[in-house]
Amino acid sequence: MYRYDRYDTQLVTERVSQFRDQVARRLDGSLSEEQFRPLRLLNGLYLQLHAYMLRVAIPYGTLSSAQMRMLAHIARRYDRGYGHFTTRQNIQFNWTRLEEAPDVLADLAKVEMHAIQTSGNTIRNTTADPFAGVAADEIEDPRITCEIIRQWSTLHPEFSFLPRKFKIAVTGALDDRAAVKVHDIGLILRRNEASETGYEVMVGGGQGRTPMIAKTIRDFLPKDHLLSYLEAILRVYNLAGRRDNKYKARIKILVHETGVDRFRDQVEAEWAALRKTGPDLDPAEVARIARFFAPPAYDSVDSAGYRAMLFEDQAFADWVRANVAPHKQDGYAIASISLKPEGAPPGDATADQMDAVADLAVRFSLDEIRVTHEQNLVLPHVRQSDLYELWQGLRKHGLATANIGLIGDIIACPGLDYCGLATARSIPVAQRISRLFSSLDRQHDIGELRLKISGCINACGHHHVGHIGILGVDRKGDEVYQITLGGRADENAAIGKIIGPAFASEDVVEAVETIVRTYIGLRQDGERFVDTYERVGQKPFKEALYDAD
């Protein structure tokens, strides 16, 4: 893992001190709310529906156990005993007190964390494949790229007041687990014909009220030129992006209205003007950063006992089937921890659970934890021979639900239960669906099915890219839910299509049941839900949902 150098430490420490002073001046009346609001937002502190909410950055979703323990401490000491892991690999605390916010930031700084650029029209936390560095199908660890971007983009003077917020995601694997095609910039590590590593650069993806899949503007960018090329993109956007209408201010609108070919030309022209002849960064500095992500010293592992347990304990075998992924190192595994037990708010974890995960990470995962954009956690370095003991440890804390990638593994934004922007509740719908599909046997029989729920058109619950997407809206005082089908956030990303008129709150869960039953009736051998949908189209689902009337 990356460790702060003296510059990082100084920057974060000074920011805590500055914010402490700003809060004091707000409380003594030296600053008005109008003056203070942008300052608190620069530090991730929102005023939400019920209280202040603090969003803490988790760079590319990587945490140490010490950092996780600090998050548990913050949940316990300053909040109400829990936190909410978000769809951008961050964590939110929903009940932060303004007077205590500087103390929270000071505690975060002790473990090299902060809330800088988790709000505002800035470059936000760069997200990554949660299996970075350990995925069996990976070309290169994307976290090296992410850390370079983090250092470059933090308090970047030119890009601190962009037309709108700006999100970058990076993956180094063939399977896209980072949803890079629905980000402002998506970077995919590729190898060219000479086996050199570089990036496919995609621009203009996003969700919200105008969902779009990112377009490739460069098939292969040599790694040496990452920062100058990003700078060229950001410069074009910063100058030409709309500032007159926040709903048209994201780069996806600029790319769409300019046309991808013309936008590419503009970026290339800007890049030609600013690029250096040599690499953007001193190779020694890149090497220094890369060393933090060097693979750990793995042991030689005897997995015979593990394989035996798969036959002896069906519940363990089910968990392995859903929650354990292949590791690049023989004898090791990647273990996902579901934060979606039956009927619970997706992505929430109590302080005790966070401490438990930290303990298990020390014992079984070389002190490392990942946060996924699907609101789960990952232990990336688990010996196969330790999986059974890990699973037992997770069970004690309600963290061993065997539903990763299944219908119970629902993404949901906080919705109207917490969010000041939401127009409908999302968590209660997720809970009802989770209870309806409480049988893990049934979930496994249904197979991979990504269900995502947003409580407003801003789409923080990623409904546009759910195999089944649900969007809650307010219609004359009633919460109604619009269903989309066929979205996906993977390497074949697609925006789901609206299936028909919205459903009342009391009917939406039954509608999901109807969709699932229709799929089961239509699926052919080995087909996932999305495969069946892509083969048969909307018609049979539409008929099942609406023609029964």
Binding site: L47, H50, W95, R97, L98, P345, D348, T350
Partner: protein, 101 residues
């Protein structure tokens, strides 16, 4: 005539509050002073604005309420949830009350 109350958040804690019938601020919507006219609305907003200037509360605004047994209850779902807390049991040891159906 639509009835209104004033809501805001405590500046320090951020918790939701209502301008109460006794001129103070309460975390209980039922304690709200209920306005029945445009003149009363303006008067309440003026009081709330001064409380914001005095750094007691932040972001005050009018909400539509109905009167139930003499006590105010928000007319709109968003405000009902603000008044009652999240409608979900969000943590095993959580204690926030829930009133919205």
């Amino acid at each position: 005539m639509t009835q209104h109350a004033i809501t805001a958040n405590w500046l320090g804690s951020g918790l939701v509050v209502y301008l109460a019938w006794d001129g103070g601020w309460s975390e209980q919507v039922a304690d709200s002073f209920i306005s029945g006219s445009a003149e009363e609305d303006a008067w309440l907003l003026d009081i709330a604005g001064r409380a914001a200037d005095a750094r007691i509360v932040v972001d005050p605004y009018l909400i539509e309420v109905t009167e139930q047994d003499g006590a105010a209850w928000p007319a709109l779902r968003r405000e009902q949830i603000r008044a009652g807390g999240p409608t979900i049991a969000y943590a095993p040891d959580a204690t926030v009350l829930r009133r919205v159906a």
